[in-house]
């Protein structure tokens, strides 16, 4: 099975970014992005689960009957989610507390099921590992951008450290649910415009 790491990376991070382009996993992208700490934590938890489930499902792809595949995928995914949930509770209790319900809800996050169905169940183990890694990092990148915007303007700090001077008032709106929708809309529009530009630049380069 031939695959190119560069193409998988470009796909996961930009061209086919799970949040900005595919609009999957929006629930957690809205809910946990009140601070950069939460955004990074959620992104990394998701990446770990995505890599594990992609590898495992790719290993089992010849043994899973196609009629029962969704149920089989869900069992594999929920096993890894439970493991990550317990690990976070044991070693990072404060992060686990603030992510709350959205860690167990990774089970039904469309990104993981979509990668299992569209990639891992049809490709080799190594390719699936990198696909999971880059899709996970693409999701993490999106969460970092959204949570940075919300934390910077919502409370004037980044990663808990004050950045903006006291004279610029914090806009608490960005910390509210309505602010989450609007921040996601703004970041998505900006990211889409940028990705389009990059694509056009690449196409122009090939032409020459």
């Amino acid at each position: 099975m031939k695959f190119s790491i560069g193409k998988l990376a470009r796909d996961g991070l930009l061209d086919n970014n799970p949040v900005f382009i595919q609009l999957l996993g929006i629930c957690s992208a809205l809910a946990v992005t009140t601070s950069l700490t939460n955004g990074i934590g959620m992104g990394l938890a998701m990446t770990a689960i995505l890599v594990c489930s992609n590898v495992f499902i790719s290993l089992l792809r010849r043994f899973i009957p196609s009629q029962a595949r969704i149920a089989a995928f869900i069992v594999v995914i929920s096993t890894f989610v439970t493991m990550v949930d317990l690990l976070l509770k044991a070693y990072l209790p404060s992060l686990s507390e603030s992510l709350g319900l959205f860690i167990p809800l990774i089970v039904v996050n469309c990104i993981i099921l979509a990668r299992a169905e569209a990639f891992a169940s049809q490709n080799g183990v190594v390719a699936s590992l990198f696909d999971g890694l880059f899709m996970g990092l693409g999701y993490t990148l999106a969460l970092i951008l959204i949570s940075a915007l919300r934390e910077l303007f919502g409370s004037g700090s980044l990663y808990g450290v004050r950045i903006l001077p006291e004279t610029i008032p914090a806009v608490a709106f960005f910390q509210t649910p309505a602010g989450a929708f609007i921040a996601l809309a703004l970041v998505t529009a900006a990211a889409r415009a940028l990705i389009e530009k990059l694509k056009a630049a690449k196409a122009a380069k090939i032409k020459h």
């Binding site: 439970t82 809800l105 039904v108 649910p177 929708f181 609007i182």
Partner: protein, 194 residues
Amino acid sequence: MSLTSLLLIAFSAIVVENFIFSRFLGVCPFLGVSKQPATAFGMGLAVTFVITVSNFLTFEVNELILKPYGLEFLQTIAFILIIAVLVQLIEMFFKRYIPVLYHALGIYLPLITTNCAVLGAALLAVENYSTVLEATVFGFASAIGFLVALLIFAGVRERLVFAAPPRAFEGMPLALLAAGLCAMAFSGFSGIEL
């Protein structure tokens, strides 16, 4: 257990802590099926039915099987399996006995397994409520909140078709902005203590 407290649970689940606009549960199907009011209504009804039954079942399974044996750490796995099986059974039952409902809601049913509102409602009910009646009422009311949000947003979205936004905002970003404005309207309820 009085009627008032059940009504309070219901009111709070429908408007104060609306699944879409304040808890962010079920946002994916919310953006996916809200293009027309008719499909939004069908999906909302199917979700209401599934959440009400699944909240009852998952709460009982938690009380009668998981808790007595100290297996609460298996909640996520157990609940998602119950929901997947339940959705499958409902689909088969509708197909066999209520074909009218099957034709109306059938296409939405397979999508419901992966709707985070269903698993979310089950997990929240186990965490916050102590009787099965409360858990079921909470599930039903949350789903009604989901249905209301879906219908309102479908109405808004029908009008967005005529908007001419900048290119980068076309499609989803514009829908998200509109959802943000709806969420702002719902945030008017957010200060209410019940």
